[in-house]
C-alpha cells in the first residue's frame, strides 16, 4: 500500500497552521486517501490504477488554498502574548498523541529518559556529596592539609612525614591542633584463632579526632606515651566494628581483641556517623614510631597525611608563611638539601576538602557534563 502520509506531506503546500494542526490535516487526508484506494481496489482496479486514480483526483492547489483560508479564519486570533503558549500547548498535544500511537518508540524514549535522569541524579548525588557539601566536621572550613611538593620532578602533591608532624605541632602557631593519619589504610587480621578476618585499619596521632572536632562516644583518645611501639597495643573502634565484634557492649573499654597475633586493648569508641573522607577504616591504632623514624633524614619520608585546624586568627596564608620559614631554617641542616632544591621542594597548605577532592573534581565535573548532555 502506498505511503499516503508521505505522499501528502510531499505535495501539500504549507498551510500556515501550527505544526500540530497541519499534522492533523495530513492524518485525516491520509485516512481518506487510504479508504478511497481500498474502495478502488474493491471496484476491480489493480493497485497501480487505483493509486493513479487517487492522485488524479486530488487538486492540490485548490486543496491548499481552501485549507489555508479555513485554518486562517478557524478561530479568532488569540492575544499575541499567548501565541507562544498556545503553540507550545498544541505541540505538547501532538507529541502526546504521537507517543500514544507509537508504543515502541514511546517505550524506547521513556527508557532513554529514565536512564539519563537516573545517571544524572546519581552523578549529581556524588557531586553534591563530594564537591558541594562541606566535610561532616564542625567548622570544616578551618581544617587544612599540609603536604610536600616537588614540582621539578613531576610530584606537585606528595604527603607529609612523621618529623613534620612533631615539628608542626610544636612550632607552627597558625595551627591550633595538628594530627596525622597514615597515607593508606592497612589490612589487619583480627579475631580469635580459627575465625580470623581481614579489616581495614589506620594509624593516627592522639589529636586526630579532636582536630577534626569529633567527640568519642566513650573512652579516650590515644596518648603521647602510646606513640611508641612498645605501648601502642590499644585501639579506638568505629561504631560498625564495635557492633560487629563486641555486640555494642557498653563495657567494651578495657576489653581486648586479637590483631595480627597481638592482644589489643580497646580504649575508645567512635560515634556512629564518623567517617574520615572516603576511608573504610574499622578501627584506629596509634601512629607509633621509634626515634630513628622521627630523625632529620626522615623529613621527606612522606608516608602520612597531615591535617590541622587553623588557630582562631590564622589563615592558610599565615600557616604557609610559618611553614616556609620553618623549611628555610631546617634545610640548612638537611642531609638532602641539594636534592630538595633541585626538586623545587616547597611545603603547601590547602583546605582539607579542597585537597581531598582535587584529584577527583575534574572527573566528576566531566561526568556531570556528560550526563547533562543526555538532555
Amino acid at each position: 500500500m502506498p505511503d499516503f502520509r508521505a505522499y501528502i506531506r510531499e505535495h501539500l503546500p504549507p498551510l500556515g497552521a501550527s505544526g500540530a494542526k497541519e499534522a492533523e490535516v495530513i492524518e485525516e487526508l491520509a485516512l481518506d486517501f487510504e479508504e478511497r484506494y481500498k474502495s478502488a481496489l474493491r471496484g476491480g482496479l489493480d493497485p497501480g490504477e487505483a493509486w493513479r486514480k487517487i492522485q488524479s483526483q486530488t487538486e492540490w492547489p485548490q486543496l491548499a488554498r481552501d485549507f489555508t483560508a479555513m485554518l486562517a479564519s478557524a478561530e479568532p486570533d488569540p492575544p499575541k502574548r499567548l501565541l507562544p503558549v498556545l503553540n507550545f500547548w498544541n505541540d505538547v498535544r501532538y507529541a502526546a498523541r504521537t507517543l500514544r500511537n507509537n508504543p515502541g518508540f514511546t517505550a524506547v524514549a521513556v527508557f532513554t529518559l529514565a536512564l539519563c535522569l537516573g545517571a544524572n541524579l546519581t552523578i549529581f548525588a556524588v557531586v553534591d556529596s563530594i564537591l558541594l557539601r562541606p566535610l561532616p566536621f564542625p567548622h570544616a572550613d578551618r581544617l587544612v592539609s599540609a603536604f610536600h611538593s616537588y614540582p621539578k620532578i613531576g610530584t606537585p602533591h606528595s604527603t607529609a612525614s612523621l618529623p613534620n608532624y612533631y615539628d608542626y605541632r610544636e612550632k607552627i602557631k597558625a595551627f591550633a591542633s595538628t594530627a596525622i593519619i597514615t597515607e593508606n589504610s592497612e589490612h589487619a587480621i583480627v579475631g580469635a584463632a580459627g575465625s580470623p578476618s581481614s579489616v581495614e585499619r589506620d594509624r593516627v596521632s592522639p589529636e586526630f579526632f579532636s582536630t577534626l572536632g569529633v567527640k568519642l562516644l566513650m573512652g579516650r583518645s590515644f596518648t603521647d606515651q602510646e606513640m611508641v611501639y612498645s605501648r601502642s597495643g590499644v585501639a579506638i573502634l568505629t561504631y560498625p566494628f564495635w557492633r560487629a565484634y563486641f555486640d555494642l557492649d557498653p563495657n567494651v573499654i578495657g576489653r581486648t581483641f586479637q590483631m595480627d597475633g597481638s592482644t589489643t586493648t580497646v580504649v575508645g569508641v567512635l560515634p556512629p556517623d564518623f567517617r574520615f573522607l572516603s576511608r573504610r577504616t574499622q578501627f584506629y591504632i596509634p601512629a607509633a614510631s621509634d626515634p630513628a623514624e622521627r630523625a632529620i633524614d626522615q623529613r621527606h619520608n612522606n608516608t602520612h597525611i597531615l591535617i590541622a585546624r587553623l588557630a582562631p586568627d590564622a589563615t592558610i596564608s599565615t600557616a604557609r608563611a610559618q611553614i616556609a620559614a620553618l623549611d628555610a631554617a631546617q634545610i640548612k641542616d638537611d642531609p638532602f638539601a641539594e636534592n630538595l632544591k633541585a626538586m623545587g621542594f616547597v611545603s603547601m597548605v590547602s583546605g582539607l576538602q579542597e585537597d581531598h577532592v582535587a584529584a577527583i573534581k575534574p572527573t566528576l565535573l566531566l561526568l556531570e557534563g556528560g550526563v547533562l548532555c543526555c538532555f
Binding site: V25, L31, D32, E35, E59, D66, F67, M70
Partner: protein
C-alpha cells in the same frame, strides 16, 4: 448521469453534509461515500472539496470533530451535528425546498 460539478455543488455542500450527520456521527470519507451512494453517484466529494468545508462548518459551530480510536482500527476524526447544526439543517432544508419549488416552476424542471 454526469457528476455534478463543483460550481453547482458548492452552494449545497453544507446541506448535504449536515444531512449525513443527522442520524449519527461519521468520519470524512464516510460522509463523502454516503453522499455519493444516496445520490446514485450524481454527487461526489473529493478530499480537496470535502475537508475545507468540514473545517469551515466546524468553525461555524454546526458540527464538532473529535478523534476516536476503536480497537483494531485507525483512529479517525468523527464529526457530529451540534445543536446549532441541527437548526442550520432545518433552516437550509426549508430554504432549499422553497428555492427548488420556485426553480421547478420557473425553469420547468421535472422531478428526477
Amino acid at each position: 448521469m454526469l457528476p455534478i460539478d463543483n460550481a453547482r455543488k458548492n452552494g449545497s455542500a453544507e446541506l448535504l453534509i449536515l444531512a449525513q450527520l443527522e442520524t449519527r456521527p461519521r468520519h470524512g470519507y464516510e460522509i463523502a461515500s454516503e453522499i455519493e451512494r444516496r445520490s446514485g453517484g450524481a454527487v461526489s466529494f473529493q478530499p480537496a472539496s470535502l475537508y475545507p468545508v468540514l473545517y469551515r462548518m466546524e468553525r461555524e459551530g454546526w458540527i464538532a470533530g473529535r478523534w476516536v480510536e476503536k480497537a483494531g482500527q485507525h483512529r479517525r476524526r468523527y464529526y457530529r451535528l451540534t445543536g446549532s447544526g441541527r437548526k442550520q439543517l432545518a433552516a437550509q432544508r426549508s430554504s432549499w425546498s422553497a428555492f427548488l419549488a420556485g426553480l421547478r416552476q420557473t425553469a420547468g424542471l421535472q422531478d428526477a
